[in-house]
Symmetry: C2
Subunit: 390 residues, 2 copies
Amino acid sequence: MENFVFQNKTKIIFGRGTESSVGEETAAFAKKVLLHYGSGSVKKSGLYDRVTASLKKAGVEFVELGGAKPNPRLDLVKEGIELCRKHGIKFLLAIGGGSAIDSAKAMAVGVPYSGDVWDFYCGKAVPKEALDVGTVLTIPAAGSESSPSSVVTNADGGLKRGLTCELIRPVLSILNPELTFTLPAYQTACGAADIMAHIMERYFTTTKNADFTDRLCEATMKTIIHNVPECLRNPQNYDARAEVMWAGCVAHNDLLGTGRNQDWASHQIEHELSGMYDVAHGAGLAVIFPAWMKHVYKSNVNRFVQFASRVWNIEIDFHNQEKTALAGIAALESFFVSIGMPVRLKDMDIGDDKLEEMADKCTGRNGSVTVGGFVPLHHKDILEILKLAR
Amino acid sequence: MENFVFQNKTKIIFGRGTESSVGEETAAFAKKVLLHYGSGSVKKSGLYDRVTASLKKAGVEFVELGGAKPNPRLDLVKEGIELCRKHGIKFLLAIGGGSAIDSAKAMAVGVPYSGDVWDFYCGKAVPKEALDVGTVLTIPAAGSESSPSSVVTNADGGLKRGLTCELIRPVLSILNPELTFTLPAYQTACGAADIMAHIMERYFTTTKNADFTDRLCEATMKTIIHNVPECLRNPQNYDARAEVMWAGCVAHNDLLGTGRNQDWASHQIEHELSGMYDVAHGAGLAVIFPAWMKHVYKSNVNRFVQFASRVWNIEIDFHNQEKTALAGIAALESFFVSIGMPVRLKDMDIGDDKLEEMADKCTGRNGSVTVGGFVPLHHKDILEILKLAR
């Protein structure tokens, strides 16, 4: 096990009806907030009304900014930053999924910064301070409700880049599984793929002897595998929705990665994909992850056998462990298919004309950057993975 | 799943050599601390020297109070409170296991309180404020390094009572598995029994559909079962010690109990046992828990079958599920025996002359209080459990 520091400050308020506490909980931090949300569904579902009523009751003033979209856009972030500055706002309250939360986080570091907020995402600067962020989660997927990460897309160049820094970890997140009852099947499944990916990025490690976190990862994956199909069959099954929502949060709150190095190549490759094609992040991951596995499994067959055996209950073929490893990858792929995810680029109507360009973007201008911790991938590896994903 | 609030503020600094950061980390909170520790082992091992050197280097003054003992004593707590008041101290730094940490927590609430600190433990008052507590952990067992709980024994009447309150959750805990290399086998095993008990108190729930936390509990138990025997065989195996130390912390940081009701009857019964006989808490739990299981398993055979199957890999006898349930309980008992724990009162030279008195203490003066959430136990149940433990 490697040395680590673990601290997670987010106060999670979980369960039925919990959004009614948002006013009181927010008031402990600020009396004036920017309320940031996405499309009309928040209004249509009545959530907007309940949240604003709770804020008013607690005496919390708010300024609004809607319009957050999947693969959150830099221009909207900049609009939010200006609004906060204009109104002297010190707290961002995001209602929605990862997109609304990630753009609120970007605003949180952008407001007190005199330069361009994109500096933090392209690695030109490191945030020194940030406003507090709170969330009311409506989509279990990104884990952004308790993570120190934010991903933003710069339309100029189709670049999707991430920022990870403790300052942007939400101070408060309200998780009511009832709010996910109306999630369309496709979004539920995209969320599941994203959650699985967050766990697998940590699971595929070169750190030996990370037994406890291995088992925690396996427990969390099994929870997703067991409960997501039930969410699709019975979208209003509270218990199944609750398992997925809580597991999705823990999947990305850093606990599962403690003491181990991690991979994150599939996420990086997928960022180029959804940066260029605007596909759903989870769907992109469902396509990239199995291809990544097929490309790297030979570097550590044992780990893939463990994945097959412990996560998918596949009986180990002791005469042919490689076969077992491949059966685990096939089981993951079948799971994605069974919940309605694409598993090939062509399933998303993406041809192979830009594979080279995506590999270029991943590995930098001169192809010098390697990607991923489990197996460091070069330009040719990424191209190979994208070809396996066709 | 039940509604819950989860927040854990403790900053965990985990790994080799991490105690050298204690000065710098503590200085972020206070420039003057009470250094509280137990017996001579902290000095003998050189840990005391390393911690005090780090404090001095960071410009942190300290006043010392040694002498913390298993089943921490109220009189020592009071001595610490007076010392803090006399020296104007606002931060307690505990070096040791649960005893040193629990008594530091008691001091933390006692210092700003004008009444008797025991009020908080016997339920006469609720803490309104507390000093900050930091820890350097040397024994993976109590989980106190990241929990909101403290247990103290009042010699007057042999009463052992607990306090749970967010204010006393440590702000900072340093966990270096190397510090556990010299733990005697018996203490290692007592710690393992305590950790298993913390998980099982949460695992045996009447909440249906707590799938995720079930799986997290099972993952954590399996980590203990797999790694503790290795710690006993090779006390200097860093990886095995690390797994146990991190699992022991997570076992009691409240994550595994989220969204489910819990039991805690075995802990309460054991508190009477160790309050009266001064046996090691973990050893007492190894005796009480299997007896409790034998008394209650019929109320929910399925849960005990899950325990047998998922935790102990026992093949389910579908013709006789009760047999499977009992095999799980027997497996736990065998595990305790294999690591050198007592599993009967007589193994600890405790006769049956005070069983009635222990049951009396558990259930209050007139036997009106029930104990435990899985099956509410009355006086006669507790007596029966104690008899099963003979």
